[in-house]
Amino acid sequence: MPKIAFWQGNMGIAMGAIAAGCRFFGGYPITPSTEIAEAMAEELPRLGGKFIQMEDEIAGIAAAIGASIAGVKSMTATSGPGFSLKQENLGLAYMAEIPLVVVDVMRGGPSTGLPTKISQQDVMQARWGSHGDHGTIAYAPSSVQECYEITVEAFNMAERFRQPVLIMNDEVLGHMREKVIVPEDDSLVLVDRKRPTVSPDEFVPYRADEQDDIPPMAGMGDGYRWHVTGLTHNDWGFPTNNAAEIEKKMLRLMRKIDRFRDDIVKYDTESVKDADVLVLSYGSVARTALSAVRMARKKGIKVGHFRPVTLWPFPDKELEAIASRVKTILVPELNCGQMVLEVERVVGKERVVRQNLVNGELFKPAEILSKIEEVA
């Protein structure tokens, strides 16, 4: 029987991680993400897992990557300044292809900004925050139910694609409590990283399989010897300055995500079939925007809603198919205009209207409704 729970979004993420098989958490306290660390500190030892509060944000992600290298599904969680601090080691996990889930519960920035107030100011940092090119998988849940389910999926994607996966939660959803239907553990589909099938003597640690561009990964201590490095490396995992080897590695890092983009992309729509106006929003804002869309429908305005669940990869061709039929696309965001840049890339600037709020508050439905009425 599924269980009914009443959880905060942050708790939904922690419990989703546990259900996904996460057995290691390395972290550091920071508002508004701390509840995730606290929940993991309580739950993991009961399951024989390990939680460690490290000396700083940098060490928190380092320990989580280390545990994953040793073969254990791992997570770290943070907010704003902590997300900035984690960017360097996040890059190492991209380069060395280490599965990991990183949660950022977004608060207002820049700098210390607004520790207890909502924003969506980190969504471009999710894509471009760590130096160098890499594919990105980043989710923006908008209900506690989704916090739980997305976290399970994030672990599955991290394991499948051998790279960090980001969950871009926000302060309101992180702290809001609502009902969650918790599925039974055995009903969940869980993915584990592909393990080598060859003997340790034949193991070439970064030789990718042709069918998916992903190299099988051995856990340290499983009988295989291999070298992990943040330096650009060849199939042996050893640093290279050879142009062909460099290009092979870099293009594969991008391609392993691009090729399976359709398996990763997630989005949601409502009332889009006959819509003249399309509202695109994500995270907590999508809840407000959907209320506004439903209110506008009652007033006879032909408006629909598009919600990217994966911010990265952005559901561009799915948006394009719907947007081709609408006159205006309204993009309310709790930043000065970030995901709207993706929308403009897809549909052009002419039909796109921005609605931005950076005062630490969440939009009110009436504010989005009046903007819909203005552009309809």
């Binding site: 030892p45 009961r46 390990k50 040793a70």
Partner: protein, 271 residues
């Protein structure tokens, strides 16, 4: 030529190594490999982590489970590996800048936590890989590209730092005493808890040429002449110890190791 069982630990495929001819890091790697061989460690159950710098390239040449991470952060990664799989032997090789500058916070907390990792700190008093900049162990008055008129800031004593932060085995040798290096590394690996072995070495290329020790032999002679065993140093005045390198064991104590404590906590929680 190293013994055959030592050669088995090398990834000859990755040679030639990046170190300058005459670099002291080879002496340290050899001492580490002799220690692992003497202790009958299995390469597939031995993790060697590092950060960034000349010294941090060492794991790449060792045919074990090796992890070359980000500058200063290797102890964070090593902590995650050790905690996830306490049965593994985990060694972290670092340089002086890696360990005590950018990685200083991680270093003191690894000491405090007393997790079963052996840190080998190769102290050559300089940033070698980036071309000879001053480090937290550059002696006062010594020249570096970022201290062209001589360093004026007081240096860290790595062993005092480790002892103060709570490391439970702390020792120092120089590369002029390779048998002592091996002895302390072996004891560090066997020790339950966080062990720190500082090995004073040289960078004749970057430090030596600016500080009148430009050949490897000059440096070895300097280490021989400047080394003072701890027992003797204890009888000497601070004035007599200026410019000396005190070798020996500074800490060797038995307090509960972190991953063992963690396993006890799990057992308690699970009843």
């Amino acid at each position: 030529m190293p013994r055959e069982e030592v050669m088995k630990w090398l990834r000859a495929r990755f040679f030639p190594h990046i170190w300058c001819p005459g670099c002291g890091h080879g002496v340290i790697m050899h001492a580490l490999l002799r220690s692992l061989t003497a202790l009958d460690k299995k390469p597939e159950e031995t993790v060697i982590a590092s950060g960034i710098g000349c010294s941090s390239r060492m794991p790449g040449y060792i045919n074990a489970c090796t992890v070359h991470t980000t500058h200063g952060r290797s102890l964070g990664f090593a902590t995650g590996i050790k905690l996830a799989k306490p049965e593994l032997t985990v060694i972290d090789v670092m340089g002086d800048g890696d360990c005590t500058a950018i990685g200083g916070n991680h270093f003191i907390h690894a000491c405090r936590r007393n997790i079963g990792i052996t840190a080998i700190v190769m102290n050559n008093n300089i940033y070698g890989m980036t071309g000879g900049q001053a480090s937290p162990t550059t002696p006062p008055g010594a020249k570096a590209t970022t201290a062209p008129y001589g360093a004026i800031d007081p240096p860290f004593d790595i062993c005092n730092l480790a002892a103060g932060a709570g490391a439970t085995y702390v020792a120092r040798a120089t590369i002029a005493q390779p048998a002592m290096c091996e002895q302390y590394i072996k004891k560090g690996i066997q020790h339950k808890g966080f062990s720190v072995i500082e090995i004073v070495t040289h960078c004749h290329t970057q430090f030596g040429r600016k500080n009148k020790r430009s050949s490897p032999v000059d440096n070895l002679n300097f280490f021989k002449q400047a080394s003072v065993a701890k027992a003797k140093a204890d009888q000497m005045s601070p004035e007599e110890l200026v410019g000396k390198i005190i070798t020996g064991e500074f800490v060797n104590k038995d307090i509960p190791e972190y991953t063992e404590q963690y396993d006890k906590l799990i057992a308690k929680v699970r009843g």
